[in-house]
Amino acid sequence: MNYQFKWSVLWSGQSGVWLLQGLITTVEISALAWVLAAALGILSGALRTVPWKPARALATAYVEFFRNVPLLVWMFFWYFGVPPLLPRAVQDWIFNHGAEFWAGMFALGVYHGARMSEVIRSGIQAIPRTQFEASVAMGLTTFQAYRLVIVPIALRLIVPPATSESLNLLKNSSVALTISVAELTFQTRQIETYTAKAIEALTAGTVIYLVLCVGIAAIMARVERRFAIPGLIARGG
């Protein structure tokens, strides 16, 4: 064993700046993708439970299509597959304006939207059907019943599984490095390239991911307590 640890590589030179840039990119792409995933997940998860077959079929098709193909493939799809559908001038414009980031964001958001959809659907199905009946019996439309009653209750029920899905999204954002998005894992590799200190660089990356995940889990736990339905969720607080 003649590996010599040299932790100073993490703060000497540009390493610190790179880690910070990587962290910011990871947080940006994950946050945007999360918003997209949440929107798609809520929409398709709700549609999968409505009393109208074509809507259910459409939402089911979305979920099965996107979650059963590996994320890496979706990265390549959004980066290599989609731009050729656009006019050449538009392609050039987006290639000069962060096409990699946006392709990665869409890949991540649409893929995790499909996974989030399952979480939301299970939340909605945990609500007694009579809640929906009571809502429409008051004169609410189906859309209002979902927006005001069903989805808000479901969202409160699914905080724990949605948290774990959100953490998956964060961790999966590293796949975007395959299409040249300079996120956290990319930057740890960069440090390894420059310093030949792989273990230190990977350790730094691992610790940052860990801190991010633990932080998110803590925030979500607070959200869960803050919005807990009295009497429905009996969790320590």
């Binding site: 980066y79 290599f80 731009p83 395959t178 390239t193 792989a198 273990i199």
Partner: protein
């Protein structure tokens, strides 16, 4: 998911290392080889013609031949018995950890000998010499490293040339991909205007392109990329054996026969050796 695999390997190795460091005894590679009868090399599976899996599913290449035909006899002499070569896959992110953890004894692929890497590992004599150039669409305004302002340039992450572009030519929009196929695809589709890598790699890609005539390798070498074999640091006896093998090859001309087999007119990738490169290689052994 090769990438995930590399990360997993690296993390696993890192964990193993922290355990191993407590017992960490200095490893004598020759003693280990003598004991096991095996020299384990870390090499590539997709870098023709240096190391790759060919159509017949055989793991072959220039770097592998150098080990088999030049290094192996010297190592056998040093340990006084006949040995076997075993090959393991190593990639840029995993190769140094694999070496440090004793999973492999020698990296023989396409690794450039750099001062930074020399802090972590020892390198053999240089066995191949190339430099960074650009692969562009025929007729591209990019003729070399000075035409990059505002252009989108792909590079392979971890490559020396990516580092040079980032530091010395910041006007270029650098896009770094973890593997060559993705970077090349980006060039084919126009996501980037040029792909930079070692000239030898670019000739290989051009030859494999759907329409090779549409692509040009342009520019003078803007980096020096001497390929060497990497070993654990400070194992002088093993390094001496590896270097002796290569040196014999240069002296006897065996090295140039192997070069001809892979890079000659009938080789896997024709890449004639320039007199300058030949002089550079021979200078290492004082000729």
């Amino acid at each position: 998911m090769k990438r995930m695999f590399s990360v997993v390997v690296a993390v696993a190795v890192a964990l193993g290392l922290s355990l191993a460091s407590s017992v960490g005894a200095q490893q004598d590679t020759l003693a280990k080889i003598k004991e096991t009868g095996v020299l384990t090399i870390g090499t590539r599976t997709g870098s023709p013609p240096f190391a790759y899996v060919n159509k017949n599913n055989e793991w072959v290449g220039f770097s592998i031949d150098l080990v088999e035909m030049l290094v192996k006899p010297e190592v056998q002499k040093a340990v006084g018995k006949s040995i076997k070569i075993e090959k393991k896959e190593s990639t840029p992110p995993t190769r140094i950890p694999l070496l440090s953890s004793n999973a492999v004894d020698l990296i023989a692929g396409t690794m450039t000998d750099t001062p930074q890497r020399r802090e972590a590992v020892d390198f053999s004599l240089t066995f191949f010499y190339t430099g960074a150039q650009f692969l562009v669409k025929k007729g591209s305004p990019i003729k070399g490293v000075n035409d990059l302002a505002g252009k989108r340039v792909a590079a392979q992450q971890g490559a020396t040339n990516a580092k040079i572009i980032r530091e010395k030519y910041p006007q270029a929009q650098l896009r770094e991909f973890p593997d060559q196929p993705a970077a090349f695809q980006a060039l084919l589709q126009g996501q980037v205007d040029a792909y930079t890598n070692d000239g030898i790699q670019l000739y290989g890609l051009k030859a494999k392109a759907p329409k090779p005539d549409e692509w040009d390798v342009v520019g003078d070498f803007y980096s020096e990329e001497p390929y060497g074999m990497a070993m654990r640091k400070g194992d002088a006896k093993f390094k001496a054996a590896v270097d002796a093998g290569l040196k014999n090859g240069f002296e006897s001309g065996k090295y140039f026969e192997i070069y001809e087999k892979w890079f000659g007119p009938k080789g896997e990738l024709p890449y004639p050796m320039t007199p300058q490169v030949k002089a550079y290689l021979l200078k290492q052994i004082g000729k």
